[in-house]
Amino acid sequence: MEDLGSDSGVQSQPDKGKGTADDEDGATQDYGDTYDFDDDDEFFGMDDSGFEPVVSSRDQRKPWEVEYHVHDAHGLHDKQEAMINRLVPVLSVSKDITTILLRNSQWKEESLVERYLSDPDKTIRDAGMFPNAPAPELKTGNEDFTCEICYCDGPEEVYLGLGCGHAFCTDCYVTYLTGKVLEGMSWRIRCPGAKCKALVGEQAARLLLANEPKILERYEDNLTRSFVNDLDSFTWCPAPNCEYGIECHVPKSAWATIVPTVHCRCGKAFCFGCNMDDHMPAPCFLVEKWLQKCKDDSETSNWLKANTKECTKCKATIEKNGGCNHMTCRKCAHEFCWVCMGPWTEHQQAYYQCNRYNEDSSKNARDSISKSRALLERYLHYYSRFSNHERSAKLARRLLTTTETNMEQMQRNSSMSWIEVQFLSAAVDMLSACRATLKWSYVLAYYMESDNQKLIFENNQSDLEMATETLNELVENPVHERTIEEAKRLIIDKTQYVKTRWETLLRDTAQGLQENRWKFQD
């Protein structure tokens, strides 16, 4: 007999949130790009050519969708330029200084303008620039010049100095800048002078790096990188090698009631709030809680449930690894029967057989165990469904490959064209989206307190689940005892129905979160 702490056993983290990595569900994909600033102009520019802009259903945001924009490197650069150019006339200082002021204040225009207007000189100096300093330029022909880094001197040296008065030859400056840029720095690079707080500034940096195109490119890259990192309303797409930045203005305070799912142009759907894969309909804080819980508990709990019982008196977790049914708890010395869990004192001489299952005392003992196990059961109920949908989502992606074969086969076996068999891949896309949503819906359900509102939610959930399973079966085996035309009609119908159920669930949860319809427990 062994006494096991509840933290013993194997712990592992369930493969978290891979369900939607590559989902490109038809319902939202087309909407991904349309909110782009850059594209908007072109879109409305079509007026000239005689086309009316079509206000279609895709332009009306669904309740669970948030507004966002996908920017490429150019777009991000233009965005910075626009913010800077807008502020130059307001502050009426050079663009170089305005840029630094904006970057230094994390692009918070309002507080910057306020600070600036109360004390312009101090604001500029605090940011590491100099009011009224002439624009940086390369100088030469100065008898008195000595570079403080390499000590070269004389009128033939070309050098640059900032408003702080420190001047260095261009060779030393470029070497210095190159080192800093390769470390990932950009506008925060300071004058090389000892303890000098002056910033080199973008104008000076571009002047110095004019003959180093690679380094200059890296410098501009770093600038954009810091722009996206400094702003709360921007984030990078977390997909590997994806270089798009996402702009979304749903404030942090709203992440508890809105799931800010965004779709990058690369196809990745992720949460703007926590950068995890799309986890609609569960809000970020529940997702975080759930994943932590799974990390702590899941495998351990599974093992405990399968292999152990609890001492009816002290609740110590016990694994029976041999011997007879007469148990003595190591922790509290309570003697009981492993089979009926009743106290051993009532067993008399029946060492090897327990036929007392219905006796009151053993019933009470089992009751007390079942209470503490009930919590575990509850967790496992939701966890098994959560992980089941996660697995199914992975299978759905594999299904996509077989579907492609099926589609080719259909084209050969019938008169259908490539376009006409697209319904199959549309169905698989829909399946993937539903799997992801179902998976996270169990997390939402786990934390919901039981009431009538939860019942409504669970009805929606089960409707979607059933519809999804039916569609899954159809897609896996489309022409089983059916003609291709029949299968096509069935699948198209079912896909449409699933889509309706899916949208109903998302709409209902999005609205419910907004209205605080559910109470959440720990």
Partner: protein, 150 residues
């Protein structure tokens, strides 16, 4: 072979000889300009007074854009000096400026001797004695001063 780093180190050496700051001396190894031996004399009116502390400075081709590695060759008892002689000094790390030369490094270390920073201790014992038992701290420092003469 002449590189910007070597030329700069020659200039550092000339400066150190022509205008030596008080209480420090240093020179490159005769066969390798990238390794310097230096001595800091313990500042007067501090527990380090009369000590002659030897240091080794190792430069690479990134100097002066990157700081050299500096370590004490003499035994030290100081809150900001590690047991192996390496030291924790801001200008030798993130506050480095390429305008610092050998003279500036050595004078900074000299001032660190009588003005330790017990908040970022490299030697926890020295730091706690410096804060809580100054008498014992001084005694331990004097031991290293005496051993520095050997």
């Amino acid at each position: 072979m002449s590189t910007p780093t070597r030329r700069r180190l020659m200039r550092d050496f000339k400066r150190l000889q022509s205008d030596p700051p008080g209480g420090i001396s240093g020179a490159p190894c005769p066969d390798n300009i990238m390794v310097w031996n230096a001595v800091i004399f313990g500042p007067a009116d501090t527990p380090f007074e009369d000590g002659t502390f030897k240091l080794v400075l190792t430069f690479d081709e990134t100097y002066p854009n990157k700081p050299p590695t500096v370590r004490f060759a003499s035994k030290m008892f100081h809150p900001n000096v590690y047991a192996n002689g390496e030291l924790c000094l801001d200008i030798l790390q993130n506050r480095w400026s390429p305008t610092y030369d050998v003279a500036a490094i050595l004078t900074s270390i000299q001032s660190l001797l009588h003005d330790p920073n017990p908040n970022s201790p490299a030697n926890a014992e020295a730091a706690s004695l410096y804060r809580e038992n100054r008498k014992e701290y001084v005694r331990r420092v004097r031991e290293t001063v005496e051993s520095s003469w050997e």
